[in-house]
């Protein structure tokens, strides 16, 4: 085998989901997805970010077989989601965004049926394990209508895990779940990842994506704006700031400092602000030396780092 072939095979093996030229126009004519192309890597946690109505749920629904694509192809483990739907769906577990459960069934019935639909025989041990992991074991005989909202959301996750999926889609899994349980949920996600499960999630809590994800995709108006490793994205687009509180207000930069790009005064003239990209040569030493040689003095020094949230806002802001 040539080296190139080996490399190619390695990359396709590593792509668990491949999306090509995918578009979706709903029946009412609304175009929710426009020519989407990207791949999901085996074993990663991929966070899909985007504002309300960006097309996240539409994209997930197409991969899971709930919405028909207008054009384009999606393969999961190299099987086509339409031609080989039985195979592709058996790899996947889906936690939908909306809480949709039959209120009259018990927790155990709900998850047991879910496993049955996947075509798998009932497995009491798995049910106990999953319900325990999700702190639902003591509610196993309760009807869904007797559960709180956060518990219901965890039942949705339990249902998806009944398929013992290779790929888990979590569409806003932590909406309405309290802080402690949310942490528990992320521990579970980490556990699944360590077992080799690929996880694709959407969330509006950007700190979650920042904390958990290996890669980030940003979608806006049905188009993928960015797909990047989280760390690289933070480095590339993340900015840092040094803020100096001046002893005396200053209206204009002193002549020694005008040549520094990224250096500015706050509107009230009270602060001197230096912004720089994390990935670039910072020039802080030169700047501080120059300040020392100038007329200004300062009483305090602070630093600030932009979060993924700031990056996200700057990416999805409409430029009008």
């Amino acid at each position: 085998m040539t080296k190139l072939k080996k490399v190619l095979q390695y990359t396709t093996m590593n792509n668990i989901i491949t999306i090509q030229n995918l578009t979706k126009a709903y029946d009412n004519g609304f175009v929710a997805l426009k020519d989407i192309n990207f791949t999901i890597t085996r074993g990663e946690i991929f966070a899909l970010l985007g504002q309300n109505g960006a097309g996240k749920t539409t994209l997930i629904s197409i991969i899971c077989g709930l919405v028909r694509p207008s054009t384009g192809t999606v393969t999961v483990n190299d099987d086509d989601i339409i031609k080989d739907y039985r195979k592709t769906r058996s790899y996947i577990g889906l936690v939908p965004q909306e809480i949709t459960l039959d209120p009259f069934l018990t927790v155990t019935q709900t998850v047991a049926y879910a496993r049955g639909f996947y075509g798998r025989p009932r497995d009491e041990k798995l049910i106990e394990e999953v319900l325990t992991d999700l702190s639902l074991w003591d509610k196993k005989d309760n009807k869904i209508q007797e559960l709180s909202g956060g518990m219901k959301r965890r039942v949705l996750i339990a249902k998806a895990l009944m398929n013992e999926p290779e790929i888990l889609f979590l569409d806003e899994p932590t909406a309405g779940v309290d802080v402690e349980l949310r942490k528990g949920m992320w521990d579970m996600v980490t556990k699944l990842k360590n077992r080799g499960t690929t996880i694709i999630l959407t969330t509006h809590y950007i700190e979650e994506a920042q904390e958990m994800a290996d890669r980030i995709g940003v979608i806006a108006d049905g188009e993928i704006k960015i797909i990047e490793e989280k760390d690289a994205l933070m480095n590339r687009l993340g900015t840092k700031k040094i803020i100096l509180t001046l002893t005396k207000n200053c209206d204009t930069l002193p002549p020694e400092l005008v040549d520094f790009s990224g250096l500015s005064l706050s509107d009230d003239g009270h602060n001197l602000i230096y912004s720089y990209k994390k990935s670039e040569h910072t020039g802080i030493t030169t700047l501080l030396t120059a300040i020392k040689g100038s007329s200004i003095t300062f009483t305090d020094i602070q630093t600030e780092e932009s979060s993924l949230e700031d990056i996200f806002v700057s990416l999805t802001q409409k430029h009008e």
């Binding site: 949709t100 049926y113 639909f117 075509g119 249902k159």
Partner: protein, 253 residues
């Protein structure tokens, strides 16, 4: 084939039937029993009816057919409509189950429910009058064919409906008049010729005639023709369903 998936749908639907038996089994049996008491025993004894069977006996196959039709249809339509309405249908459409398996799971469960009701009605009627069944297997065949056809029809309306209003539209404005005018309470030859001819356009007439022939060996319509026409109705329902699934109409958007 996803046998477990199909069986899960079937048994989940049957469990629904037995979870609320008052609503799903007892109430339809009660209603029909009342028809039988009022029309068969009270009024029927006054009717001068020159067939080999009494009026009370005569109306039993019709009453059974009528409840097979309404119950198979309502079981299948609510079976698929309810999960669509509350959104749990995602668990089935995202699972590795084919449309055929989904359809058969729901419609065979509805058929089973209707046949249980039909049997209970037959047993109830036995308390009032002896009812011989001349061709029991053919009777079962007609009962199954009818219940299955209307389960498919109900399944289609459950996919088509996007409100409870629409869901109840078919049973109320189509099914009830068709069953009442289908010859449950009278023999076709009691009608004036014009209405007799018009009745032949009513599919329920063939179903009732078919079952009545299996019970008593008397019919205004050749049972083979009845069987053929019910089969055509069944085929039309299959055709409609496969169109729905091919286009994803109302289910994949």
């Amino acid at each position: 084939m996803n046998k477990i998936g199909f069986a899960t749908i079937y048994f989940k639907e049957m469990a629904r039937t037995f979870r609320v038996p008052g609503q799903t089994l007892i109430s339809p049996v009660m209603t029909t029993a009342l028809y039988f008491v009022v029309f068969g025993s009270a009024i029927g004894s006054q009717v001068d009816f020159n067939l080999e069977v009494s009026y009370a006996q005569f109306i039993v196959p019709g009453l059974i057919m009528m409840s097979l039709i309404t119950n198979s249809m309502s079981a299948a339509s609510s079976g698929i409509y309810f999960p669509r309405f509350i959104g749990t249908i995602y668990e089935i459409f995202s699972a590795p189950i084919s449309y055929t398996e989904i359809t058969l799971g729901y419609t065979l469960a509805a058929t089973t429910r209707a046949l249980i009701i039909g049997a209970l009605i037959y047993i109830t009627a036995l308390f009032f009058t002896p009812i011989p069944v001349e061709h029991p297997f053919i009777a079962l065949f007609f009962a199954f064919l009818t219940a299955f056809s209307f389960s498919l029809f109900g399944f289609i309306t459950g996919i088509w409906a996007d409100s409870f209003e629409k869901l109840s539209l078919f049973p109320v404005i189509i099914l009830t008049p068709l069953s009442f005018l289908g010859g449950v309470f009278y023999s076709l030859d009691m009608l004036p010729p014009f209405w007799q001819t018009l009745s032949l356009a009513n599919p329920v007439v063939y179903m009732i005639e078919g079952l009545r022939w299996s019970f008593f060996g008397i019919a205004m319509i050749n049972p083979l023709i009845s069987a053929l026409l019910i089969s055509i109705f069944l085929m039309i329902c299959f055709g409609l369903l496969s169109y729905i699934f091919r286009t994803g109409y109302k289910i994949k958007n």
